[in-house]
């Protein structure tokens, strides 16, 4: 080895400037110079943008910045947001009329954007993961279907897919009265969108909720007690199963108790109607229809049923309506609901004789009864109710009443984003799974793990650390691309802002506001996902 340590050959003498400026080749000096250069660039960039902004703002003129007292100030740039919006929004999460201010319309736009973004992210992760795993399936058909899905989604533009799904799929669906009902379930797919049942919490829901809390406490206690016994005896006892079964028993018991105890729902009827409870109503209806059994109501003609129907006034979409409808339907009593938005309106209808009864919560009924002329001739019949009642969509005339719905624009936008980004995510999931070495799967199989356990316990946890960073990018793109909804008239934040801009001319203000909100949404998303990413990182040496 000693022979190798001969001195290096003489280097050629460098020119003078190279020796003098030699420090410039020091990596530390280069690093500092690079930093300084970059800061200068940033300052120039910011100045250029800021100057441009100020220039354009002043070009727009003072009219853009009118304060309420009539003076001009940049501080009043957003004062116009308090004035009346004047336009309608087709799909809102909260009540809205066109006399509400701009800021409220903007707020509803944000809610719509968030609704699509959050639902989209959740459903995309399901679709993307499924398609990604299907891509690697050993089943030829499954993997080929997944491949075609991915290629189709990746190779066509988002906007064209959106138009196709909106005009070609959703709006091509049948009319409401011929709506598609998958498997006969109370779900209606039509060109008006998707109508589906929605749960309504009645006043006894609180009692049931208390039982649920009790059940959860029970689960914890069972877990601890059985866990201790397990440690003592060293024998497995089904902690989870025991706890779950006890939980279900408590929840079921609570359901019955809550239903029996609560009688906050009622029906207002006149004494003259001879209705004293639901049983007497049944007798009256038997007389009225001339049947021996209300189960035979189908044998009557439609006109006869309509003539005999029990007429009830209700408040639109109230739990009382759903609850009473359910009970009447179960007893086979034909009925007709007269829906109105306000209690006094319903009471007026009842007083006029439009309906024989008024169903609402007991407190509302008591208040309304006192407004009637001779209140002693009216009485309130209590009605039992379950903690949760399902409001089921039913066709009434040309509209659906009850339940919840996705409007066609919302459904089309959500579906498009899920399918498009599901395809992108599928490839990321596939790459993640394939990044886990074959040896990992072999070790899992050799240990006797089933294929499901192998995927769940060994492959996916490792694949996730490859999937998450680009996956964050996909979810952020999805959240921002909710703005393509404007193309089919979905009133998201961008769409509402666009209308506001056209009406008020405040382009600059609204773009700044929108960019801030989008940035805020993106930041929250990425903080959450990065936190998760940090948690699942591998420990290296």
């Amino acid at each position: 080895m000693a022979q190798l340590a001969s001195p290096p050959p003489e280097t050629q003498s460098s020119p003078v400037w190279r020796t003098a400026l030699g420090f410039l080749f020091d990596v530390r000096v280069l690093g500092v110079l690079g930093q300084i250069g970059f800061i200068i660039l940033v300052i120039f960039g910011a100045r250029a943008i800021g100057g441009n902004f100020a220039e354009n703002a002043s070009k727009l003129g003072e009219s853009q910045f009118i304060c309420r007292d009539g003076t001009f100030s940049y501080r009043c740039a957003y004062d116009f947001m308090s004035s009346e919006a004047g336009f309608d929004i087709s799909d809102t999460a909260l009540d809205y009329t066109n006399t509400d201010p701009y800021w409220y319309a903007f707020y509803l736009g944000i809610l719509n954007t968030l609704k699509v973004a959050v639902l989209g992210v959740i459903l995309t992760s399901i679709v993307g993961t499924t398609a990604g795993i299907a891509r690697l399936s050993e089943n030829w058909l499954i993997s080929k279907i997944a491949l075609w899905y991915v290629e189709l989604m990746r190779n066509t533009p988002l906007l064209i897919q959106l138009f196709f799904i909106y005009f070609g799929v959703i709006l091509a669906a049948p009319n409401l009265n011929e709506a598609i009902q998958p498997l006969g379930l109370p779900i209606f797919l039509s060109q008006r969108g998707l109508n589906f049942p929605s749960p309504q919490f009645t006043s006894s829901a609180a009692i049931w909720l208390a039982f649920l809390v009790l059940g959860i406490i029970q689960f914890q206690v069972t877990w601890i007690i059985l866990g201790r016994r397990e440690e003592r005896t060293g024998q497995a006892n089904n902690k989870v199963q025991t706890g779950l079964i006890l939980f279900l028993i408590i929840a079921g018991f609570g359901w019955v108790v809550a239903g029996a105890v609560s009688e906050t729902q009622g029906v207002l009827v006149s004494k003259a109607s001879r209705i004293r409870d639901l049983d007497s109503l049944e007798k009256i209806m038997l007389q009225r229809t001339g049947l021996n059994n209300l189960g035979d109501v189908d044998t009557l003609s439609e006109e006869e049923i309509a003539a005999a129907a029990f007429q009830v006034c209700v408040l639109t979409d109230s739990p009382s309506e759903t609850n009473l409808a359910k009970q009447l339907r179960r007893m086979g009593i034909p009925f007709k609901m007269h829906r109105s938005g306000r209690p006094d309106q319903a009471t007026a209808d009842y007083a006029e004789g439009t309906c024989e009864a008024f169903a609402a919560s007991k407190s509302v009924l008591a208040a309304e009864r006192s407004t009637l002329e001779n209140l002693s001739s009216h009485l309130i019949i209590p009605i039992k109710e379950n903690p949760i009642v399902w409001s089921i969509p039913t066709l009434e005339g040309l509209n659906m009443v009850g339940g919840s719905s996705f409007r066609p624009e919302f459904a089309a936008l959500l579906l498009t984003l899920i399918l498009f980004y599901g395809g992108t995510l599928a490839e990321i999931v596939r790459a993640g799974i394939q990044s886990v070495s074959k040896g990992q799967s072999e070790a899992a199989r050799a240990l006797g793990l089933t294929e499901g356990q192998r995927l769940q316990l060994v492959v996916m946890p490792q694949a996730l650390r490859v999937i998450i960073p680009p996956g964050i990018g996909v979810f952020l793109s999805l959240a921002k691309d909710t703005s393509v909804g404007i193309a089919i008239g979905f009133p998201d934040m961008y769409s509402v802002s666009f209308t506001t801009m056209n009406q008020s001319g405040r382009t600059l203000q609204l773009f700044v506001l929108m960019m801030l909100v989008y940035a805020l949404i993106s930041l929250v998303f990425s903080v959450l996902l990065n936190w998760y990413n940090e948690r699942i990182k591998l420990v290296e040496r």
């Binding site: 497995a236 040896g439 990992q440 199989r445 050799a446 060994v458 490792q462 290296e540």
Partner: protein, 255 residues
């Protein structure tokens, strides 16, 4: 280091292979392999690379599928029946050349994953057994580290403990020391030697001739997908019958 013995078996021959054939596309990797292994037998398989020795032991727990012939492990025939495959995999442990520890789990979780999920042991029971095996392979203090924090030799010993905690009847070693630095080979071989003496049924593919000479009941020479020679170690190394065996032994012993 004393080892607890393996689970008792009630069959005369733990592994029966009859005329096993395996193709990779056009290439025939196994050309009619016959082998019978009695409980407690230690068999070392040697042979040139590409001779099919790894493929063969991977067929025994169905990491590779054989296309012809029969393989019967502990009285259960390997077929396309998933339940049979699962049953056999529970009874056959395998140690790999590349360790294949799960990098996202601690050493202890690596070991207890299969006992908890496959054997349905409680976590406490699984951890207790895991710790006795970690103690026996000499690294109980590493239980809560991650595989990435251990040396190669330590990782392979964890892999052995992971396999043994499942209480298999048969141990398959697929070149367990080939990926190790020279100074770590002996720590793994020590563990294997003790397992052999404790009465485990072992099939090991290895190039460690010293190990073969010392603990093997039989040495099997594989070439071109066939068993060329099978004899006791002394006879095998001093007086090989087949010409191909002599050639191979000359190459590896006098390099």
């Amino acid at each position: 280091m004393t080892m607890e013995g393996p689970t008792q078996s009630f069959v005369d021959e733990l592994i029966i292979c009859e005329n096993v054939h395996k193709w990779f596309g056009e290439f025939e990797a196994l050309r009619g392999v016959n082998l019978r292994v009695k409980p407690g037998e230690v068999i070392v398989i040697i042979g040139p690379s590409g001779s099919g020795k790894s493929t063969f032991i991977r067929c025994i727990n169905r990491l590779e599928e054989h296309q012809e012939g029969r393989i019967i492990v502990d009285g259960i025939e390997l077929s396309h029946d998933l339940r049979n495959i699962q049953e056999i995999r529970r009874e056959v442990g395998m140690v790999f050349q590349q360790f294949n520890l799960f990098p996202h789990l601690t050493v202890l979780d690596n070991i207890t994953l299969a006992p908890i999920n496959v054997r349905k042991w409680t976590r406490d029971h699984a951890e207790e057994i895991a710790m006795t095996w970690l103690t026996r392979v000499g690294i109980p203090e590493q239980a809560n580290k991650y595989p990435g924090q251990l040396s190669g030799g330590q990782q392979q010993r964890v892999a052995i403990a992971r396999t043994l905690t499942m209480q298999p009847k048969i141990l398959l070693f697929d070149e367990p020391t080939s990926a190790l630095d020279p100074e770590m080979i002996s720590e793994v071989l020590d563990v294997m030697r003790d397992l052999a003496r404790a009465g485990y049924t072992i099939l090991a593919v290895t190039h460690e001739m010293g190990f073969a000479r010392e603990v093997a009941d039989r040495v099997i020479f594989f070439d071109a997908g066939q068993v060329v020679e099978s004899s006791k170690p002394e006879e095998f190394f001093t007086n090989p019958k087949e010409e191909r065996t002599q050639l191979f032994l000359n190459q590896i012993l006098h390099h």
